[in-house]
């Protein structure tokens, strides 16, 4: 304990007190700081830190905020991004979210973040505040949030704990997003036993603004006011980003009788909706110089980042912060992660107008400080200085680690144990049964039970949403200009080969955007991995980053931002490495989008791309044998790029990407989405491989007969392999030559029954 308690009063550890008591033992280890990190803080300050300073450094130097284990690897994104790739980027890595110019004066910003651990502890609130946090990141760029997406991963579908976690997470994503008025246009739901005890809840938001309205988080202009607005600050979420909740720190022992609140935050989507409209009105009136949302690390993060990115210092009167609990200490106020709060820098002459807008929306707004001409972040508490630090040392100059990297010892054995020897279905009846079994398997079954709990229509801009390959949103109602987004990752491929597996995730997201008719332009990511202290995990991470960066360079589109989530493991067992890749595409007129499905009766079905016997890491090996081994499918990004160009050339009535489950699953889904059957002949001489191989760079397209010759000529010219498979029928039967017919009602029962049976 660094301070003594008087019952009922809050004793404050001031800078003066810290100077005069250098010998005090501070609980830095309980706060997650290492010995050398604590020593460095003392060196920076020339004294021991105060309680409040220690709180700030410990949350800001946490893995979540400082990227201390990943920084040395993430730098590779910068070195592989060419000037040409950077051309359309208005803001990149390091800002709240990346921003790209999509033409006609529009800028689009998008980002994914993880909220994995809170969602395991408290599924509903963990997921809800994950959505809330990413939406505020987008808002802080000056953009109106337009849509959200949620890549989710859970343990085995039939595991008891999945039944606890999944319904809560889905209800939380829906409960927050629906009440916020943002359409949910897609995402992922993946089951794998490795996520048992560590589900992944990633949340993506996309927003748009006029290019000139871009706001960056910085505090500039001496004398400008710092205004905190939104919800009051409480005791929730303290230590959410670190291991902050230590007994000695939280100060609960002084007889104040306060109960500790859980370190999972509690969200109020109504407050956030009001905050969005309030912020947009403030932006529109030109009343904001700089703005930052309060997310992980709360005020510690917002004040130090604003000051660090600005051209001066900052003075904050912490006692002015509106609280919703009594007796909070400065350290608690600085590290609270109470939701729905923003921090703005405002010119003194605009403060009254700023306050009027907040009053209109019933948003509490309080001037808590100002930009100073010094280079220090000074925070006072009832007239006494409790923080006096160089802000860059808190926000941007945290520790950097070169963690040991080592290819896991079992990697060779894993790659050697390929799927070639696994028993395969043979003969027409077994193949037919396998198609049905695969369609009903948890990872391939219809996501309707989940997506029906999300509003996909609000604001009237949704052109494509789940179960389409990509989500698509109209940005400009007058011109029809819009964006498409897809998030993808097959963690099994990444486990087998992190470099190639991450490129396959990139390829799939890129292809999904292209299949919707949009032109891919930018990439974001959410890199979910195990412990960075495990050299094998760091090897996976390093390989994944390199694979993604090199892949983006080959596709000519930049990574504009991302998020790293480490320590996703249960005991010593890490999750499947899961670098979720999000690709953003632009479409000049959303009316030209390509629907997901089969097209109209009479359209010709053409398979683009080549099918090889590639079943390593496939859904079939997983479902039929619980097998993971061998090599993932080969990556060919140049072919992906040409494939995308062919799709943008027109002539396609409908399309569907081939990925998990191969051609069989694509045919089943396309038939069911369009509500019509088809008759096809399988390519190659092995029907099993034709149906279940997961070779990349493949798409099923429906081409009207009149367009067929022109379309296939363009494919040949672009060196994209194509093969006529059959035609769309006016029937309700999927007919595959050599396999007994599959009536759509039977397929539908198999495909749609699984999740409701598991989760009610």
């Amino acid at each position: 304990m660094t301070a003594t308690h008087t019952p009922g009063a809050v004793h404050v550890d001031t800078v003066d007190h810290a100077v005069s008591t250098p010998e005090v033992n501070q609980p830095y280890r309980e706060l997650g700081l290492k010995d050398d990190e604590y020593a460095r803080i003392r060196e920076i300050l020339g004294r021991r830190p105060t309680d409040a300073e220690l709180a700030m450094y410990s949350v800001m130097w946490s893995e979540h905020c400082s990227y201390k284990s990943s920084k040395v690897h993430l730098a590779y994104f910068g070195t592989t991004t060419t000037e040409e790739m950077r051309a359309g980027m208005l803001a990149g890595i390091g800002e709240n979210a990346g921003v790209v110019d999509i033409g006609d004066g529009w800028a689009v910003t998008f980002k994914v973040e993880s909220h994995n651990h809170p969602s395991y502890v408290e599924p509903y609130q963990g997921a809800a505040t994950g959505v809330g946090g990413i939406v505020r990141d987008i808002l802080a760029m000056g953009a109106r949030p337009l849509a959200v997406m949620d890549p989710l991963r859970f343990g085995a579908a039939d595991a008891p704990d999945t039944r606890r976690v999944l319904p809560g997470v889905v209800a939380g994503v829906g409960g927050y997003g629906n009440c916020l008025g943002l359409p949910n246009i897609g995402g992922e739901v993946v089951f794998d036993p490795s996520y048992q005890g560590n589900p992944l809840v990633n949340a993506l938001c996309v927003g748009a603004m006029r290019v000139e309205d871009l706001h960056l988080a910085h505090a500039s202009g001496t004398g400008n006011k710092v205004i905190l607005f939104g919800a009051r600050t409480g005791l929730d979420g303290i230590g959410g980003v670190s291991v902050l909740a230590s007994d000695t720190f939280a100060g609960d022992e002084g007889g104040t009788g306060r109960k500790k609140l859980p370190s999972v935050q509690v969200g109020d989507p109504f407050m956030e909706k009001v905050l969005i409209e309030c912020c947009l009105e403030l932006f529109g009136a030109g009343l904001v110089v700089g703005i930052q949302d309060l997310g992980g690390a709360g005020l510690s993060c917002a004040t130090s980042e604003l000051a660090s990115a600005g051209d001066g210092g900052m003075l904050v009167n912490l006692d002015r912060v509106p609280l919703r609990a009594t007796g909070m200490t400065p350290a608690e106020i600085l590290s609270s992660e109470s939701q729905e709060r923003m921090c703005a820098v405002v010119r003194p002459s605009d403060v009254d107008a700023f306050m009027r807008v907040c009053a209109k929306w019933d948003v509490i707004a309080t001037e808590i400080g100002e930009v100073t001409d010094g280079d220090r972040l000074v925070i006072t508490w009832h007239g006494q200085t409790v923080v006096d630090v160089p802000p860059r040392t808190v926000a941007h100059e945290g520790p950097v680690y070169q963690r040991p990297v080592q290819r896991p010892a079992d990697q060779d054995a894993l790659v050697a144990a390929g799927p070639e020897q696994l028993p395969r279905p043979s003969g027409p009846d077994e193949l037919r049964a396998e198609i049905l079994r695969m369609a009903a398997s948890p990872n391939l079954a219809s996501r309707r039970w989940v997506t029906e709990q999300y509003d996909r229509y609000v604001r009237g801009g949704t052109v494509l949403a789940q179960p389409s390959d990509a989500g698509m949103i109209r940005v400009d109602e007058a011109t029809g200009r819009g964006v498409a987004i897809s998030c993808d990752c097959n963690g099994r491929f990444v486990r087998l080969d992190p470099y190639a597996g991450t490129q396959l995730a990139l390829a799939e997201a890129y292809r999904n955007v292209a299949v919707s008719g949009a032109r891919p332009v930018a990439v974001t990511n959410c890199l979910n991995f195990g412990s960075p202290e495990d050299p094998g995990v760091m090897w996976q991470f390093e390989q994944a980053v390199r694979g993604l960066a090199d892949g983006c360079a080959e596709l000519g589109i930049p990574v504009t931002g991302g998020n790293v989530s480490f320590y996703n493991q249960t005991g010593a067992t890490a999750i499947l490495p899961t670098p979720v890749v999000g690709v953003l595409g632009v479409i000049d007129d959303v009316a030209a989008r390509i629907p997901t499905g089969l097209g109209a009766p009479g359209d010709v079905l053409v398979l683009l791309g080549a099918t090889e016997p590639e079943l390593g890491g496939s859904e079939w090996a997983h479902v039929a044998h619980g097998h993971l081994g061998g090599r993932p499918p080969a990556v060919d990004l140049r072919r992906e790029r040409r494939l995308a160009e062919v799709l943008r050339g027109g002539g396609v009535a409908a399309a569907h990407d081939l990925s998990d489950g191969g051609l069989a699953q694509t045919l089943v889904e396309a038939c069911l989405l369009s509500g019509t059957g088809c008759r096809v002949t399988l390519p190659g001489d092995d029907p099993f491989v034709a149906l279940f191989s997961e070779s990349s760079a493949r798409v099923l397209v429906a081409v009207p007969p009149a367009e067929l010759d022109g379309f296939t000529a363009r494919c040949t010219e672009a060196d994209v392999p194509w093969r006529r498979l059959g035609t769309v029928g006016a029937t309700d039967v999927l007919e595959i030559e050599g396999i007994p017919a599959l009536p759509l009602p039977e397929l539908r029962t198999a495909w749609e029954g699984t999740l409701p049976a598991l989760f009610g």
Partner: protein, 222 residues
């Protein structure tokens, strides 16, 4: 014709309702919850969302907003009023329509493309439909299960005041598959599904919802 669209704190579908009004050929006018002023409009849409966070009970706080006093008074004089989803809940709380909306039978939020049958065309908001026609518009809500006392339901059915009925599956357990109802004079209509999300097949399941907004154009004397 000017059609007002109310915004409460937490209203979400006001932009959609305004767009639907415009596509139908009328002029949308934004009405603010805190202003007891209808700004000269000839009809009012109370759109969907979660007014005041739906805290306490859906629509329970919104009915006390200054603008609602004006809406209730105007409705009593015969002004067409349409309540969609949360707006329907607000109109029930305000006493303009009978009954109440409870948590969905499945206890989940449900968003799906829903088939409805237009049961009554002699209202201010359904005159452009043919009697008995089936339309597809989205339903999306958490509290959409219409309920009322048996005598009220009998009265609604007996007087032909059930305007829309769910067909091909009841998404929320509403009594009698009731999706929407009207006042005795047919000027006030409330429904849970969202016609404002079905005004363009590009962004909705159909354009079937546009008819509701077109209907009101013909319902007010020029």
């Amino acid at each position: 014709m000017k059609v007002g669209v109310i915004t409460f704190p937490g209203t979400l579908d006001d932009v959609d309702a305004a767009r639907a009004v415009r596509l139908a050929g009328a002029e949308p006018v934004a009405l603010w919850h805190g202003d007891a002023d209808l700004r000269g409009v000839e009809a009012v849409v109370v759109p969907g969302g979660f007014s005041y966070g739906d805290y306490l009970r859906a629509g329970a706080i919104a009915r006390f907003a200054p603008v609602m006093g004006e809406v209730v008074a105007a409705a009593r004089r015969g002004m067409p009023v349409l309540g969609i989803c949360n707006g329907f809940q607000v109109l029930c709380e305000a006493g303009l329509l009978p009954g109440a909306l409870l948590r969905n039978a499945g206890l989940h939020f449900v968003c799906r493309d829903q088939t409805l049958r237009v049961e009554r065309t002699s209202t201010a908001w359904t005159g452009s439909y043919e009697q008995g026609v089936e339309i597809v518009i989205p339903v999306k809500n958490m509290d959409g299960r219409f309920t009322a006392s048996k005598s009220t339901v009998d009265e609604l059915e007996g007087e032909g005041r059930v305007v829309f009925r769910y067909v091909g599956g009841n998404p929320n357990g509403s009594v009698g598959d009731i999706a929407g109802i009207c006042s005795t004079d047919g000027r006030v209509v409330g429904l849970m599904p969202h016609p404002e999300h079905a005004v363009d097949a590009l962004t909705g399941p159909s354009a079937d919802g546009l008819g509701i907004f077109r209907s009101v154009l013909g319902s007010v004397p020029a």
